[in-house]
Amino acid sequence: MKKCNIMIVGVGGQGTLLASRIIGNVALKQNYDVKVSEVHGMSQRGGSVVTYVKIGDKVYSPIIEKGEADIIMAFEMLEALRWAEYLKEDGKLLVNEQKINPMPVIIGKEKYPENIMQMLKENYKNVISLDALKIARECKNIKAVNTVLIGLLAKVLEIDKEVWIESIKEVVPSKAVDVNLKAFEEGYSRG
C-alpha cells in the first residue's frame, strides 16, 4: 500500500463507520499519514452515508473527489451506483450485492434501478462483488456485513493479514471480536 484513497459508501446503520476506523487504524500501523472523514447526524438514520479514508505520506484535504478514489467499497448496490463516478479510471469497485430500498422507492415515487451489477461491470474495469449479507448470516451475525467486506478489502490491498486482525481486535467491541474475525476470514477468502 502506498498512496491510496478509499471510499466507503452505504446506508446509515450498516456499520460503515466501524469499517473506516479499522482501515484507518491499519494505515496508522503502517506508519502513513491518514485522514478519515465521516459525516454524522441525520445521515445515521437510514440515509446515504459516505466515509473517506485517505492514506499517503502527507494528506491535506480529508475529502476524496470525483475521479480520485482508488477503491470504492460499497455496502449496498444503489450506493455503488450513486458514487461510482468517484472512481479513478483504473480504480477498483467492491460491491456488496445487498439491496436496501430508499424511502422514495418504498413509497413508489421512484424505481430502484434494475441490473445494477451488470451496468457497473459494463462501465468500470475492476468490479468485484459478493453477497456479504448472506455470508454474515452464515457466520450467524447479520451485523458482521462490514467485516466481511473488510476481509475482501484486505485481500485486494495486499497488506499483511495479521495487521488487519490486530486492528479488528482493537476497534471492535470485545464480545463481538470472534464473529467478526470469522466474517473477516470469509470475506478474505473470496477476494
Binding site: E38, M42, R45, M103, Y112, P113
Partner: protein
C-alpha cells in the same frame, strides 16, 4: 504515542492535557463528541447542561472561581449562549475559558449555515481555528494560554470536516494546572452600568493588545512556495487550498480574530496575486480589502455550502474534473428516515390520519417532515415549536388551533420548550403540546438529559418528572400515552385538541436504539391473508417493501416493534417463525 483521532476527540484530549477542570455542553452535531470524549477522563468534571446558555454560565463560573473550563456547542447553540458570551467578554476570566463552537458549512445536520466568526467580532473575543486533529489538540492548549494571558474568553472555531475527520495526533501528558486564587472583585465581575462602562474600555485595550499578538503568534504562519500566487486561508479551507493550488505561498491563519494586519501586509507585498480562501462569509476578505490590499475571493467563490479542492480548481482555474458517470440511469435519493421501531412512528401515523397542522422542532422527529409522513409544517430552532403554535392560535383563533399541535422531544423541552409552555399558560393560550419522551436525546446519538435520570458519566441522578413539571407551570391537563397504542393515542389527541385549555400529551416510549429496548423479533406478512391494501406502508417503516406483486417485510431491517400489525385490518402480519 501516535493515534488517529477525530477532531473532536483531539479537542477533548487538548482540554485534558491543558488541565481543564470543568467541561460543559449541550449536544449538537458536529460538536457532540467533544464532551463525550472528555467525560472519559476522571479528572474533569463534566456535564450535559439543559442548554448552551446554562452550559456557558457554568463554565464562566468555573473560570472565575479559578479552574480552567471548556464549553462546547454547535454554531446555532452559540445563538442561545450569546447573552452570557457578550458579557463574559467584559468581565474577562480568571482561569482560562475556551468556548468550542462547531460550524456546519453545507448544513449536514443543521437548520442554517451561520458563520461564527461574526460572533467573535461582535462580542470582541479572540478566536482560533485549527486545520486538523493535531492542531485541534495543540491549539486548545494555546487558547488556554491566550485566555489567561489576556484575561479573556477565547472562542475555538471548528467545522464539520474538522470535527468529524480523524487524523494523526501525538498524545501528551496532563499538565498540572493548580486552581488560581479567587478574589472578590465586583468592579470586574458585577456588570452593572457603572462598572461595565469601565470594563468596555478595558476590552478595547485588550483587543488592541491581541491584535499585536496576532502578528507574532506561531498560530499564524507563512509557508513559502512560489510567490506567483499567495493564499490567505484557515481551517479546513487551508487543506482544500493546499490540494488545489499546490506549491504556492500560504498565510495560514490559526488566530482568526483579531487578524494579524502587519503579517497580512508583509505577505501580500511578496506575492504577485493574492487569493483568500474561506468557507461561508467574506470575513477575512472584507478586512483585508479595508487594509487597501487587492484580493480575489468571493468574486469567484461561493458564500454558500462547503468548499472542496475541486470547487477551487473549478472556480479559480476553470478546470472541469470528474470520473466516469453512467449516463441514463436515475439514481433515487436516499434521505434519512426514522429507524425501524422508532417510537415517533406511531405518533406521526396518528397526526397524519387526523390531518393536523404540526408546529415542529429539532430532533429525530424532524424527519417526520419528509415523505411519507410529511407531517410537519414548521421547524425553526430548538424549542420554537410551542411558541410558534401559540402564535398560530393568537393569529387565527380557536378553529385553527383545534387542528394544530406542537411537538418536541424531552431534551428539547427542557432546553427551551419549557419557557414557551409557561408563555402559553401565562398568556391564556390553549395549545396542545406533545412531548416525545423517548428517554434519551436521540438525534445526536444518545446523550442523557435531565429527564433520563442519568448524568453524562452514566451515574443515576434525580429525574425531572415531566408530569409534575407541566402541572407546576399551570397545565392541568397532562396525559401520558404510548404512541404504539394507536387507538388510545388517537383518542387522546382528539380530546386534547378540542379542549379549551392548554394541554400536554407525553408520548412515552423509549428510542428503539436503546440497548435495553427489546422487541419480539422480525415480523412477516402472511401472503394468503394480505389484501394488498398497503395500509401498513403508511407508517413509513423502511423494512416494509412493496415487491410489486406482494408486500414483504425485510428481516434484515425489521426489529419487530409490531406497529405494522396494529394498523393492518386483516390480521395479515405476525411474528416470523424460526
Amino acid at each position: 504515542m501516535k493515534k488517529l483521532m477525530l477532531g473532536n476527540e483531539a479537542v477533548a484530549r487538548g482540554a485534558y492535557e491543558a488541565g481543564v477542570r470543568v467541561a460543559t455542553a449541550y449536544p449538537g452535531t458536529p460538536s457532540t463528541e467533544i464532551t463525550e470524549s472528555i467525560a472519559k477522563y476522571d479528572e474533569v468534571y463534566c456535564e450535559w447542561s439543559p442548554n448552551e446558555k446554562v452550559a456557558l454560565e457554568v463554565a464562566i463560573g468555573s473560570a472565575i472561581a479559578g479552574g480552567r473550563a471548556i464549553c462546547s456547542m454547535k454554531h446555532v447553540g452559540l445563538n442561545v449562549a450569546a447573552d452570557p458570551l457578550f458579557t463574559v467578554s467584559y468581565t474577562g476570566v480568571n482561569a482560562g475559558l475556551v468556548i468550542m463552537v462547531a460550524d456546519d458549512p453545507g448544513m449536514h445536520s443543521s437548520q442554517n449555515e451561520q458563520d461564527s466568526r461574526m460572533y467573535a467580532k461582535a462580542a470582541k473575543v479572540p478566536m482560533v481555528e485549527p486545520a486538523d486533529s493535531r492542531e485541534c489538540k495543540e491549539y486548545v492548549k494555546a487558547a488556554f494560554e491566550i485566555s489567561e494571558k489576556f484575561d479573556t474568553p477565547v472562542i475555538f472555531r471548528l467545522s464539520t470536516r474538522i470535527s468529524h475527520s480523524q487524523s494523526v495526533v501525538e498524545i501528551g501528558e496532563r499538565e498540572d494546572v493548580p486552581l488560581k486564587e479567587y478574589k472578590k472583585d465586583p468592579e470586574k465581575y458585577v456588570m452593572m452600568p457603572a462598572m461595565a462602562r469601565k470594563r468596555h474600555v478595558a476590552v478595547e485595550s485588550r483587543m488592541a493588545a491581541l491584535a499585536e499578538f496576532s502578528n507574532t503568534t506561531p498560530l499564524n504562519r507563512i509557508e513559502w512556495g512560489s510567490t506567483d500566487i499567495g493564499v490567505i486561508t484557515s481551517g479546513i479551507a487551508y487543506q482544500y487550498a493546499r490540494e488545489a493550488f499546490g506549491d504556492v505561498s500560504y498565510l495560514k491563519l490559526g488566530m482568526i480574530y483579531p487578524l494579524p494586519d502587519k503579517l497580512i501586509k508583509e505577505f501580500s507585498e511578496k506575492v504577485k496575486v493574492l487569493y483568500v480562501i474561506e468557507e461561508l462569509e467574506p470575513f477575512f476578505e472584507e478586512h483585508i480589502r479595508k487594509l487597501g490590499i487587492k484580493v480575489i475571493g468571493k468574486d469567484l467563490l461561493p458564500v454558500t455550502g462547503e468548499y472542496s479542492a475541486n470547487l477551487i480548481r473549478e472556480k479559480v482555474f476553470g478546470k472541469q474534473i470528474g470520473g466516469k458517470k453512467i449516463e441514463g440511469v436515475q439514481v433515487p435519493v436516499r434521505p434519512p428516515v426514522m429507524c425501524p421501531g422508532c417510537p415517533h412512528r406511531g405518533m406521526f401515523y396518528v397526526l397524519n390520519k387526523l390531518k393536523l397542522t404540526v408546529s415542529g422542532d429539532i430532533g429525530c422527529y424532524t424527519l417526520g417532515a419528509l415523505p411519507p409522513t410529511q407531517a410537519m409544517d414548521t421547524c425553526i430552532c430548538m424549542g420554537a415549536s410551542i411558541g410558534a403554535a401559540h402564535g398560530m392560535e393568537k393569529a387565527r383563533g380557536r378553529e385553527f388551533r383545534t387542528k394544530t399541535v406542537a411537538i418536541l422531544g424531552d431534551s428539547t423541552f427542557v432546553h427551551s420548550g419549557i419557557t414557551g409552555l409557561i408563555d402559553v399558560v401565562y398568556n391564556k393560550g390553549n395549545s396542545t403540546v406533545i412531548i416525545l419522551d423517548n428517554s434519551i436525546t436521540g438525534m445526536t446519538g444518545h446523550q442523557h438529559n435531565p429527564t433520563t435520570g442519568f448524568t453524562i458519566k452514566g451515574e443515576p441522578t434525580k429525574q425531572v418528572d415531566l408530569v409534575k413539571l407541566c402541572n407546576a407551570v399551570g397545565i392541568d391537563r397532562v396525559k401520558v400515552v404510548d404512541p404504539f397504542n394507536i387507538k388510545e393515542f388517537e383518542k387522546t389527541v382528539k380530546e386534547e385538541i378540542e379542549a379549551d385549555e392548554p394541554s400536554v400529551i407525553i408520548s412515552q416510549r423509549p428510542c428503539a436504539l436503546l440497548k435495553h429496548v427489546k422487541f419480539e423479533g422480525p415480523h412477516r406478512i402472511v401472503i394468503e391473508k394480505c389484501r394488498k391494501c398497503k395500509m401498513c406502508m403508511r407508517i413509513g417503516c423502511p423494512a416494509i417493501v412493496d415487491m410489486g406483486d406482494h408486500i414483504e417485510i425485510n428481516d434484515a431491517l425489521c426489529v419487530g416493534c409490531g406497529l405494522c400489525s396494529k394498523v393492518c385490518n386483516f390480521d395479515a402480519i405476525e411474528k416470523a417463525g424460526e
